[in-house]
């Protein structure tokens, strides 16, 4: 069940040849008159949880090499962004990691604010933190729930999805939509937290910990779950860094890199929380790290809600932030600004910005070159999934197919973010 060393395909062949030379009996499938099997895992296999393909070379049930093929939902966001005013790029970011859209939205807004030099008031920053941490919880819930499904336990997934639904209802109160949220604006939020939203948030905060504990009771020390996940799909810290891992997958390997702590944005320095790290970088560690991050996110949300400052929920930046609609009908300046913003006639300053946030899967970066026009000259998304998914063949070679499936789900590869 558990794999020993992840060998590359060539190493594997050399390894077997060496064993044969040493006189170790190696049972090869060819001995029984069969050949290696080529298995096409995906693009629409239910266990891949997204559209990407892996062509696996199998010896019996053992994987000896894998070739990932991606790009099935490539939508050329970087190209589209070169023709769009800044506020119209937010809906594109929704569709990257669609399990935690608010983080993408707000990461993009903060990038533009950095370029424009807009200072966002404390209340808006705290609301952003609350929404981003809710999104992180929703993201981790999906990942760990699905990991349960892939190891053969469906019920935990159902318990968690009820809670994800509740999070989506909070999103609905805050921004009007659920999955692709397009939440907030450049300069802050588009509306304040309504009493209903606060009520829903408080109810959820009371309700959720018990559900989470129940889920962890089902899985954390479950013998079957542990046997299926410990030492499965491991990666060392050194290899993970070389592969550009960030986020929970890197922390599971033992590196405590978290953008929220290293380069605090949106007032994360005000909150008291810890970065959980694992030791082996295997599937079980990734699972535990995500669970612990959910608890830490809850801590952050509670602190932010308790200390939610009074004041405006958006920056005083009339050139970039839409005026209230009533004003547009009555006030000439408001009408002009509304018109110019909507038509994308506001020029941005010349500049080159890199801003990164801690997304659900790691460092989500926006590299923006502005030549002073209404659209970005070049916008590059640093998508954590895209960067760490290339390590997948190395992580699964030498293991069995069933282990490869749960390694994939524990890495939380989101096809939208992978392909952009």
């Amino acid at each position: 069940m558990a794999t020993n060393d992840a060998l590359t395909a060539t190493e594997h062949i050399h390894h077997e040849a060496a064993q044969q030379q040493r006189g170790v009996m190696v049972t090869k499938t060819e001995d029984f008159g069969t050949d290696l099997t080529t298995l096409n895992l995906g693009p629409t296999h239910p266990a891949t949880h997204g559209i990407f393909q892996n062509i696996l070379q199998m010896d019996g049930e053992k994987i000896i090499s894998g070739v990932p093929t991606i790009g099935y939902i490539h939508r050329a966001f970087e190209k589209i962004a070169e023709r769009r005013p800044f506020y119209q790029i937010t809906p594109l970011t929704d569709r990257m990691n669609y399990c935690s859209s608010p983080i993408n939205n707000m990461g993009w807004h903060m990038t533009v604010e950095k370029l424009l030099g807009v200072e966002v008031p404390k209340r808006a920053q705290y609301i952003r933190v609350i929404m981003m941490e809710l999104a992180r919880i929703a993201d981790h819930l999906v990942c760990n729930g699905i990991l349960g499904v892939d190891t053969g336990a469906f019920s935990g997934f159902l318990y968690l999805f009820e809670e994800r639904e509740n999070i989506y209802e909070i999103y609905e109160e805050v921004c009007g939509s659920r999955l692709t949220t397009n939440m907030g604006r450049v300069g802050g939020m588009e509306r304040d937290l309504s009493p209903v939203a606060l009520e829903k948030l408080r109810t959820w905060l009371k309700r959720f910990p018990a559900v989470m504990r129940e889920f962890q009771n089902l899985f954390d020390r479950n013998r079957i779950f542990m046997d299926r996940t410990i030492n499965v799909g491991p990666i060392t810290a050194e290899r993970a860094l070389n592969y550009g891992f960030t986020g929970p997958n890197l922390r599971a390997a033992g590196v405590d890199y978290d953008v929220r702590v290293m380069n605090p944005y949106s007032s994360y320095q005000d909150f008291d929380f810890e970065i959980p790290v694992g030791t082996n970088g295997d599937t079980y560690d990734r699972y535990l790290v995500r669970n612990e991050e959910i608890w830490q996110s809850l801590r952050i949300i509670n602190q932010a809600l308790e200390n939610l400052p009074e004041g405006p929920y958006h920056a005083d930046a009339p050139h970039y932030y839409l005026p209230p609609k009533q004003e547009v009908y009555r006030n000439m300046e408001a009408l002009i600004y509304h018109f110019k913003i909507i038509m994308g006639e506001i020029d941005a300053p010349v500049g080159e910005v890199y801003h990164s946030v801690e997304g659900g899967n790691g460092e989500l970066g926006f590299y923006l070159i502005s030549d002073g026009g209404r659209t970005p000259y070049r916008l590059h998304f640093r998508r954590p999934c895209y960067i760490y998914y290339q390590a997948y063949p190395e992580m699964v070679v030498g293991s069995t197919l069933s282990d490869a499936i749960i390694t994939l789900s524990s890495m939380n590869v989101i096809a939208g973010e992978l392909d952009a």
């Binding site: 370029l115 550009g244 790290v277 500049g351 910005v353 970066g365 590299y367 070049r378 960067i387």
Partner: protein, 189 residues
Amino acid sequence: MTDLNTSPAAQAKAADYVKAHAAISNEQLLARLHGLFGADTFSDVEEPYGLLTATVSRHRIHEILDVLHGEKELLLNFLTTMCGVHWPERQGEELSVVYQLHSMIHNIRLRLKIFFPIADPVVPTMTDIYATANWMEREAFDFYGIIFTGHPNLIRILNVEDMDYHPMRKEYPLEDGTREDKTDLFFGR
């Protein structure tokens, strides 16, 4: 999991470590880079929004990243991201590749750029230093047609294989230029 390092000794050790690896300023970073590679290696040095940016020659970029990867003082050994950029107006240096390095110990970032002519879009690969460069370079090849010599598998990654152009180059408009139904008399498209 989180209580491993709470003993006073461990905390003192951690504090010493943090002091010894206190944040390096951009000036110190630049001075160290000049010491390692010579001051004339880096041109157009600037700090947009606090991130040290410099342009180097494409013939030296591999050496620079290789040395920085093993260098023990700066520890700039994490390749955060890498992407191509197309500048059609710049004669003789139409294409560019931007590398962004990060030192997780000192929390300092460095952005290095190389420029080269579109007629000769050949640059060395970084896959021998960073495994993560593999797909990043394939993406830059796919989007801009940049050839990375020594790359183990330089094929398209996001676009279809039989595509015969590199779509992120500026000469390819996003929309079909012949369409008239989307023309806007006042604001253009």
